[in-house]
């Protein structure tokens, strides 16, 4: 396993190709008119000096040729194939919006990744995370003890400022279960306390779970549907066991896509709960006046909003993000294009965890995003996605953008108006 294919197995390859060829893929590979209109919709194409080999239809054609020549396919060709499907596409589905036929190149690439995986050829960082996720229940292999400790620690931190605030664990029948990205407990535990603060101020009835709390799903990016299904099931089972009405997904893009839109397909039935992204919940709170923000905090900053592909284009939350911004920023400038039409930052499709040569390509493909941000003149770039967040930070360094990259939660921590009576006093008061 890992980067190199040990042996090419044509039988397995053929079988996988057969299995994965659904009616849509077949139709798309047949009807693509090779019109070339997808070329400049792709950030890889634009960032690589309009290299025609970077255009979506070319990548799709490569996959088609591979399937058609499945018997003559060998290790060398597999290497070339692998570079294309992992190194030249983030499966952001922007090209699909611009294709007159609506051909979903992302699903063609996803199928190709399944083919590659059938030969054991997947980026080792992704594989390691997925194996860890399947074994431990989260992609960072955090033990349950560590997890609960982290939550308790964050609760204590939070209570220093807001004595009444809690981080409930396994509260059955709560309004919603909050699920996070495993990097939060591992590297950014403050993300959890910030979320808890928002929920507390909004008076939410919420809980976290001991199990199935990591909503990320890197198996989806490997075309490993069996693995992705198991991972999604962990979250689903936790939510259904706790009998919550909703599952709120942290500020993470692919997690929303996988839980809300892909996993009901993998798991064969609808969830017994609603899936909501943080931006939608935050927008709801602001709209209803359940939390209030002090706009003056960022009055001296110019903000822009990076639409994560899997939140806006593939998650349908483009307007929610913009609604929050109205309560938060005095000086807001949109990138062009934006919303559902936004360019991928280059960090999607599993790119962030992938190291080595993939990192160089990721930074190069981010040129389009860097230029978009530069054109806004923004000092703050807000993004509700962990992958975008990392990529934008890297891009800020690489292209000297001089921007602060912030999630909504980070901005809320500074801008939330906390009623005096809730703030810490000399004597602590008890809450339920």
């Amino acid at each position: 396993m890992g980067d190199k294919a040990a042996n090419f197995n044509p039988d397995v390859f053929k079988k996988t190709a057969e299995e994965k060829s659904n009616a849509r893929l077949k139709m798309w590979l047949e009807i693509c008119a090779h019109c070339g209109l997808c070329a400049d919709t792709c950030h890889f194409y634009l960032a690589n000096e309009r290299d025609p080999k970077m255009m979506p239809a070319y990548k799709a054609k490569k996959v088609l040729e591979t399937i058609n020549k499945k018997n003559k396919f060998d290790e060398d060709r597999l290497d070339d194939f692998y570079e294309t499907i992992y190194g030249e596409c983030t499966m952001c589905r922007r090209c699909t919006m611009f294709c007159p036929f609506g051909i979903d190149v992302a699903s063609i690439i996803s199928m190709a990744r399944s083919l590659s995986a059938s030969q054991g050829k997947v980026p080792k960082e992704l594989l390691k995370a997925v194996e860890g996720h399947l074994e431990s229940g989260n992609q960072m292999s955090i033990t349950e003890e560590e997890w609960v400790d982290t939550l308790e620690w964050m609760e204590e931190e939070l209570q220093e400022e807001l004595p009444g605030a809690t981080i409930p664990i396994d509260k059955k029948g709560a309004d919603f279960l909050y699920v996070v990205n495993a990097r939060e407990p591992k590297f950014y535990p403050m993300d959890i306390s910030q979320a808890a603060m928002v929920f507390y101020l909004a008076g939410a009835d919420w809980t976290m779970s001991r199990k199935g709390w990591d909503v990320t799903n890197l198996a989806m990016f490997m075309g490993d549907i069996a693995g992705a299904t198991k991972i999604a099931k962990m979250v689903r089972d936790a939510a259904e066991e706790l009998e919550v009405k909703r599952v709120v997904v942290t500020e993470c893009g692919h997690a929303l896509r996988s839980l809300q839109f892909e996993s009901p397909i993998w798991l064969g039935r609808d969830h017994q709960f609603e899936v909501v992204h943080s931006v939608s919940l935050f927008a709801e709170y602001l709209r209803e006046g359940r939390i209030k923000l002090d706009k003056s905090v960022f009055a001296n900053e110019r903000c822009t909003y990076q639409d994560p592909c899997n939140v806006s284009r593939n998650g349908g939350c483009a307007q929610d993000g913009r609604e929050i911004v109205k309560y938060l920023c005095e000086d807001f400038v949109e990138m062009e294009p934006h919303g559902e039409y936004n360019y991928c930052c280059g960090g999607g499709g599993g790119f962030i965890p992938m190291a080595g040569a993939f990192k160089e390509r990721r930074l190069k493909s981010g040129k389009v995003k860097a230029e978009q941000i530069k054109a806004t003149g923004a000092t703050i770039c807000i993004t509700p996605c962990h992958n975008c967040y990392d990529q934008l930070r890297d891009l800020s360094k690489e292209y000297e953008l001089g921007i602060k990259v912030l999630s909504f939660k980070e901005m809320f921590e500074e801008a939330l108006i906390i009623p005096e009576e809730l703030k810490a006093k000399e004597d602590d008061e008890d809450e339920e």
């Binding site: 060829s21 659904n22 009616a23 849509r24 077949k26 139709m27 798309w28 047949e30 009807i31 693509c32 008119a33 090779h34 019109c35 070339g36 209109l37 070329a39 400049d40 194409y45 309009r50 025609p52 080999k53 255009m55 239809a57 070319y58 054609k61 699909t96 919006m97 611009f98 294709c99 007159p100 036929f101 609506g102 051909i103 979903d104 839109f261 397909i265 806006s312 284009r313 593939n314 998650g315 349908g316 483009a318 294009p337 559902e340 039409y341």
Partner: protein, 216 residues
């Protein structure tokens, strides 16, 4: 049997048979396979998103049209001339009437004459674009050129026949032959997009639609 009778009779029936039968088979196979392997289409089926998706592309009401006005304009003109000219040509109308006594509207011959030229001209535009645009050239296969030739051949020969340039009797036979050839290849090539376009737009429209996002 004369060549004319062969092309007007049995071969025309073969062409119609392959065309209609082939496309019907394409549709049947799509449904058959999709019911097994593309369950999301049926689970998240939505007439609303299906029509919205088709509508925004059947008329140029999408971002691609805004971004590529020239290709969009030439593309629409090309497709309109391609479909409208043969269906509403006076001479074809006479043949429909002769064969089955069915008649419908027809366009003046001076109009269809220009439309033929426009179809040829815009087809050539796409052929040249294929050759000179690096990003189009790289995805171009021999089949793309061949299919363009097959598509334009009935129009070129039709134009020559109408004006009776060269040897009329030969040209008219070639015209019939190329028309039938085009019908025959449609179900087996990308030309099938004339119908599959609607299927593709529908499934993608619904897939974006269930995420409340537009696909245009």
């Amino acid at each position: 049997m004369s060549l004319y009778e062969l092309l007007r009779g049995p071969l025309l029936w073969v062409a119609f048979g392959v065309f209609f039968g082939g496309m019907a088979l394409r549709v049947v196979l799509f449904f058959q396979l999709s019911m097994q392997k593309d369950k999301p289409i049926y689970r998240f089926f939505s007439w609303k998103w299906l029509w919205l998706s088709i509508f925004h592309w059947v008329i140029p009401l999408n971002e691609t049209a805004k971004k590529n006005p020239v290709v969009t304009l030439v593309g629409f003109v090309f497709h309109i001339c391609l479909i409208v000219t043969p269906l509403f040509l006076v001479a074809h109308g006479v043949l429909w009437y002769e064969s089955w006594e069915i008649s419908w509207w027809s366009l003046p011959e001076s109009v269809t004459d220009y439309m033929t030229l426009i179809a040829i001209g815009s087809g050539l535009f796409f052929g040249i674009r294929r050759m000179v645009s690096p990003h189009v050239r790289i995805v171009t296969t021999a089949a793309d050129y061949l299919l363009l030739v097959v598509t334009l051949a009935p129009f070129v020969t039709g134009y020559l026949a109408y004006h009776q340039y060269f040897d009329y009797q030969t040209i008219i036979l070639l015209h019939m032959f190329f028309g039938e050839l085009m019908l025959v290849v449609i179900p087996f090539t990308k030309l099938s997009h004339f119908l599959m376009f609607f299927f593709s737009r529908a499934v993608t429209g619904m897939e974006f639609g269930r995420r409340n996002a537009p696909s245009w």
